[in-house]
């Protein structure tokens, strides 16, 4: 589980070292230059890695892709598509859900799944 209080770059470096990857080795695995990866780790980049790249990073480090994509300031590709499909209702739903506890959000998610299930019946 990622510590969301920490900046993305710092967490990335800590987890990378914890998993036993040197900077150059890890940069090779995710097809980034050591220079760029080092800048990301220092929080010096204007543009963070793409969602797809962060997903690969999270997978290599055994972390949640969704959580790490959010921490990196990116949005998963599928979410962009979902919002584009319902450009008014979906942002409205997200705004309405803002501030709910994690437990309340899980309940809402389950309710949504049930509603989808009924629609599919």
């Amino acid at each position: 589980m990622a510590d969301i209080a920490k900046p993305f770059g710092r967490m990335l470096r800590e987890k990378r070292i914890e998993k036993g990857f040197s900077l150059r080795k890890f940069a090779e695995l995710v097809d980034l230059s050591p220079t760029y990866l080092s800048q990301v780790e220092q929080g010096k980049v204007v543009k963070p890695p793409t969602a797809e790249r962060v997903k690969k990073i999270a997978e290599l480090l055994g972390e949640s892709a969704d959580q790490w994509i959010a921490l990196a300031g990116r949005m998963p590709d599928d979410l962009s598509k979902i919002i584009r499909k319902e450009p008014e209702e979906m942002p409205s739903l997200l705004r309405a859900a803002e501030g709910l506890t994690a437990e309340q959000l899980r309940a809402l998610t389950n309710r949504a799944k049930k509603m989808k299930g009924k629609d599919n019946d």
Binding site: R13, I17, G20, S22, L23, R24, K25, A27, E28, L32, S33, P34, T35, S38, Q39, E41, Q42
Partner: protein, 237 residues
Amino acid sequence: MTRRSAKPKPDVPYLPEQHIEQHVAVLLAQFSDARDPITKPPVPIGDIVELHLRLTYEVEDLKALFGHPDVLGAIWFKEKIVRVDRSLDPHENTKMLGRYNFTLAHETGHWQLHRHHYTEDPNQAMLFGGRGKPAFVCRSSQKPPAEWQADCFAGYLLMPRDLVLPAWEEWRGSIDPVCVDELPAVKFRPDENSNQSAALEMFCKPLAAHFEVSAEAMRIRLEKLGLLLREQPNTLF
């Protein structure tokens, strides 16, 4: 590779090469005990720096940071930070891999050999990218004793005798040395000594690639080991 420090540095005690090689042997043994034994080249210098010595490693635009066009690396002892100049990034330029590894190994040499001889200046605490004043700024133009020692350390670290000798034997089919007069002559350099170095470096390029070091670093190491010769050895018969 020649380097020098940018600022006046504290004197470091004289160290014979043998002692430097022993320092390297201890480090490699500790790394092998703590992690994986190194049984074949290349030596995992990144793992040694970050995972074993636990130094923070960063790639930076050091030329801009220090305002010198020939800065290759720097080390901050107190903060335990090693920085390598971005011009050496092998992802951007694969030809730089050897110099990248050598610079990292060179800074490791400063860490292992010199950190106990150096006190950082507290008045410079927030200069140089908010990291304080580095203990050593390593450039490509001159070579005071500390830089020479770090170069020597890097050579032994990236090309330890126990890896070079078997690699040479596997490559050549024996441990017999090779003399420059057995190689194609090189004439494009201004003097005979430089031409000989170039011929030896062209010859040992495949082994250099194997160890992920420059041909120059490989040639220097092989000459030290007596595997590359500039003159045929004198024999009685």
